[in-house]
């Protein structure tokens, strides 16, 4: 069998094998059960709470959870703005890089605090090492935020009636120290042992074999890359992210980094199964996610391995597949695999340039972000899926003529309204943003000529991709887009803010309201949610919402481009 395909099977099999025990471990952490790492982490957590003056045992209701989350996120945003606009004179700046302009700092701060990591700057020239370090902090704690709030929803789904759902700070610190930290240390160690730089020295200059001068950017790359992969952050140390041979030096590191993308998002599903003692429900959800993921993955690999038809017509061999924007050490299949991984999970790191991929692969990456819950971002991916479950329960309930119930709680008008608003918010943000930018561009193509690196359908896809990526809190890009302008910085910044916090507030509100309702034990009349039939129902709801909302836009972009190349 083709070694490129074998590599992909290896990566997927490994991540499933690792995610199952990790899910159990995460479940134990949120159930406050003992684990073998307690000896290290109990004292560490105690220290965190003592220094912060927080009582981790104080129970909170769903509103208090949200207030705590939003407050600490505001603090992060303010601190981030301060650092990014003052980097030039602050310490740890050996390459003398400049501070950011206000609009770029706004975009970058929002981007990293919301776990998006959309980058309108390039790491080598746009950030000091202090800037990189502070962004790395957001990579840890914005991922911790997602995991913590997902734990709150797990607590709310338990078989009981309760107003209080644990303590937000406690979940948050446990997520950061007991889940993200040990995994990041393991991944960073693998990277430094395989050729990724970890230094505080500035650029090095060498003379190449042909006698030219070449400058080489260095930095604390390994520490940064580990958490950007694990926390579905995705913001690279270098401009081209993990395509850069220092950020991702070999096929082996590529395996490690690719597995890191999927590990926690997948484990969260199994964690839910453990916390609620509903393993069958976890496997049903996992099954739906996996089928959706494979439907996006398989055609993408096929198209990338077949190469660009326009180049085939020039008489060039395409045995390697489409190689524009790709690295030889990964090959086209592993690049396509990464592309679908990173867009399904809201990670947004890349190991090949998505802008240069064949048209339909471009479409599948877009679809991954438009659906945004096939595994999804750490924690928040499950919240997105939760919304679709609520919708599916309601529709199924209507179809069979029963009161819709999920895990023993009646779903009523208020919850449905919230679920509908959240489900429609994502298409709204994407389509309005794309429509606005297209309108501006079409009205004055000369003034906005710097926006698009490619003409025609592909240019439209670049704008569509940018707003989709912002709204999915993904962060990857069709990077040909000239996006460091006030319009893109502010528009994408606002989209990222709305698309991060509303889809957290919505599901937490629904779960919180449901938790306080009376628990009705399962009976023969209950709609079973852990069956293949229900799984199919959820899948249908996801597919219909995505198709109705996005098909017209996709037709104008990637689909039109595909047929123009034929």
């Amino acid at each position: 069998m083709n070694t490129e395909i074998l590599g992909i099977i290896l990566m997927y099999a490994t991540v499933v094998v690792l995610a199952i025990p990790l899910g159990r471990y995460i479940g134990k952490i949120f159930n406050y059960e003992n684990t073998w790492l307690d000896k290290i982490f109990n004292p560490l957590d105690k220290l965190f709470f003592k220094l912060s003056g927080i009582d981790p045992t104080k129970e909170m209701n769903w509103k208090q959870h949200l207030v705590a989350l939003l407050t600490i996120n505001v603090v992060w945003f303010v601190l981030s703005m301060l650092v990014l606009t003052n980097m030039s004179w602050l310490p740890l700046n050996p390459d003398a890089n400049p501070s950011m302009s206000a609009d770029l700092a706004f975009n970058t701060s929002v981007s990293f605090v919301t776990n998006t990591n959309l980058q309108h700057y390039s790491g080598e020239t746009g950030l000091s090492y202090l800037g990189q370090l502070i962004l790395m902090l957001w990579q840890f704690i914005s991922a911790g935020t997602g995991i913590a709030i997902c734990a709150v929803v797990f607590m709310a789904m338990k078989e009981r009636t309760s107003e209080t759902l644990g303590n937000f700070y406690s979940f948050f610190v446990r997520a950061c120290t007991r889940i993200l930290l040990p995994l990041a240390l393991v991944v960073a160690s693998l990277l430094v042992f395989n050729g990724t730089p970890m230094t505080f020295e500035g650029k090095d200059t060498i003379t190449t074999l042909e006698g030219e001068e070449q400058q080489i950017s260095r930095g604390s790359v390994a520490a940064f890359v580990a958490i950007k992969q694990l926390g579905t952050n995705g913001g690279g140390f270098y401009g081209p992210n993990s395509a850069n041979p220092m950020e991702n030096p070999s096929y082996f590191t590529n395996i490690v980094e690719t597995i890191s993308i999927f590990l926690i998002p997948m484990a969260m599903v199994f964690a839910m199964g453990y916390v609620l003692k509903r393993r069958k429900l976890a496997w049903t959800i996992f099954g739906v996610m996996t089928i959706g993921f494979l439907l996006l993955l398989i055609p993408s690999i096929y198209f990338e391995m077949n190469g660009n038809t326009a180049i085939t017509q020039m008489g060039i061999q395409q045995q390697l597949g489409s190689m524009e924007g790709k690295e030889v050490r990964f090959g086209s299949a592993a690049s396509a695999y990464w592309a679908i991984n990173t867009t399904c999970t809201s990670n947004g790191s890349v190991n090949a340039m998505h802008d240069s991929m064949t048209p339909l692969t471009g479409m599948f990456t877009l679809l991954g972000m438009m659906i945004n819950c096939f595994y999804g971002g750490v924690g928040v991916g499950f919240l997105n899926f939760y919304i679709f479950i609520i919708l599916a329960v309601f529709i199924s309930g209507l179809m069979v003529g029963r009161t819709p119930e999920f895990l023993g709680k009646k779903i009523e008008a208020k919850e449905m309204k919230i679920a509908m608003i959240i489900a429609l918010l994502h298409p709204l943000l994407i389509l309005v943003g794309t429509a606005l930018s297209s309108f501006l561009y079409a009205g004055n193509p000369t003034e906005y000529a710097g926006w698009l690196a490619n003409p025609g359908y592909h240019g439209f896809s670049e704008m569509l991709y940018e707003f989709t990526s912002s709204s999915a809190n993904n962060g990857s890009g069709f990077e040909g887009l000239g996006d460091n302008t006030p319009f893109w910085n502010i528009a994408c910044g606002l989209v990222m803010l709305l698309a991060r916090y509303l889809p957290i507030i919505g599901p937490v509100a629904i779960a919180g309201i449901l938790a306080s309702k009376k628990y009705i034990p399962e009976s023969n009349g209950t709609l079973k949610t852990d069956t293949a039939t229900f799984g199919l129902m959820v899948f249908a709801v996801i597919a219909i919402v995505a198709a109705l909302a996005f098909f017209p836009a996709l037709t104008l972009g990637p689909i039109a481009e595909y047929f123009s190349l034929k």
Binding site: F48, I72, N194, I206, P245, I311, G315, E324, R329
Partner: protein, 188 residues
């Protein structure tokens, strides 16, 4: 909100010290334990083998086209779409240039990595086929037999991981260093 601000600020500062400081320094410490040949360091030749270099002279194996001129302090790809006419013209020009430099090669022998720009612009590798199509030119310029050069390619090609996973490839810098070494020994 009010009750949350002070704890939020304090918790942020604790996280700042821990994740920016202690975590980073731990990874830094671990990096010091890595053996010489597997960490990011200059090799004996004084080069970074992970970082691709531009090779355009006829006596060396050419590296892949780069959108950033092999600038390792501003790496990046072309971000050209597959249907962009300017881009396709550029690819055509690369094909023509290649055929001028390698007149013995037919167009359908050129692998796509030699006429497309990499994602990073500093891709250190080319495919094995991309090395093989350059052998005739180098043999002529350097006046060495083709068999010898094919041997070096065989020697230098990096098999897929465990022979099972991923691509086969060649590090262009290492290959060219070997080539220079060989020419020096032949002269002596």
């Amino acid at each position: 909100m009010k009750n949350n601000i002070i704890p939020a600020i304090r918790l942020t500062l604790v996280c700042l010290v821990f994740f920016c400081g202690i975590y980073t320094l731990t990874v830094y410490g671990i990096s010091k334990l890595a053996p010489e040949d597997s960490s990011f360091k200059k090799s004996e030749s004084g080069f970074y083998e992970n970082v691709g270099q531009s090779f355009t002279s006829d006596k060396y194996f050419h590296s892949r086209p780069s959108a950033v001129g092999y600038n390792a302090a501003g790496s990046g790809g072309s971000n050209k779409g597959p249907s962009n006419p300017d881009y396709l013209a550029e690819v055509q020009a690369r094909i023509d240039t290649f055929l001028v430099h390698n007149p013995d090669i037919k167009k359908d022998e050129i692998p796509s990595d030699l006429v497309t720009a990499s994602g990073s612009g500093i891709d250190p590798h080319i495919s094995v086929q991309a090395a093989k199509v350059q052998v005739k030119r180098i043999a002529k310029v350097r006046n060495i037999s083709e068999t010898t050069i094919h041997q070096i390619i065989e020697q230098q090609s990096e098999k897929s991981l465990l022979g099972l996973f991923g691509t086969e490839k060649i590090n262009v810098l290492k290959l060219n260093l070997k080539l220079d070494q060989l020419t020096t020994t032949l002269k002596q």
